[in-house]
Symmetry: C2
Subunit: 107 residues, 2 copies
DNA sequence: TCATTGTGGACTTATTTTGTCCAAATTTAT
DNA sequence: ATAAATTTGGACAAAATAAGTCCACAATGA
């Protein structure tokens, strides 16, 4: 039986995995995406957050769904923030309620 | 029977409610907290995000739990971000999984 | 009508974050 | 073993984002 950790990886780790599976170097991918090698390295190590545009470029390059990558990006940000601010997990339930409420308010 | 909207309000709205229930003006509260009247007004209208310190000041002033206000603050931010980036609600489930995973990793 | 309160916008200042450069370390191949 | 390529780390510059201020105007109401 598999452990529960399968499928949980940070955005950076996921990008690194994609690159390694394609057997490409940082330089090759960074060049293609139009960013510095060092920057891509940092993104893979979660030392820098990619911009929206970089997420788009990467999803094109690796031929994966852009929204899926965006989801990884945001869930990562939320998780880091919650740990940093030491709020309990219920914060996410409140956020969920607010999303549907705010969406309704707009109409 | 109550509607489902009870209890869902933005951080700014909640702060405004607290102030109005105390029958205080923007100037009075802002002065006490040490910020500009205009800034407090903007915070109540969600045009500015309060800093961590301001959240602390307000929780002291209105005698409410600081963590609870912080929860409102973060859930608000998450909700706005999700709507802006148009990601689906499942993003929050992923975030939840990541929180427990990252916390375990740290030990 | 006068005084107080709240709003809106333009602008400045501060803070945060990205991105670059380069040198050192690590890995890989010959 | 050593040379070449790859990756990492840190210091710094540049850019982007966000807070905070000031002031004029609008609204409220005594």
């Amino acid at each position: 039986m598999r452990t529960t950790t399968i499928g949980v990886a940070s955005l950076g780790e996921q990008i690194r995995t994609l690159r390694e599976q394609a057997k490409l170097s940082l330089r090759e991918v960074a060049g293609e995406i139009g960013i510095d090698t060092s920057l891509l390295g940092k993104i893979e190590r979660n030392e820098r957050q990619p911009t929206k545009d970089q997420i788009k470029q990467m999803s094109y390059f690796f031929k994966i769904n852009e929204k899926a990558l965006m989801k990884e990006f945001l869930s990562d940000q939320f998780a880091y923030k919650m740990i940093e601010e030491e709020v309990d997990i219920d914060t996410l339930r409140v956020a969920e309620a607010k999303v549907s409420f705010y969406k309704k308010s707009k109409r």
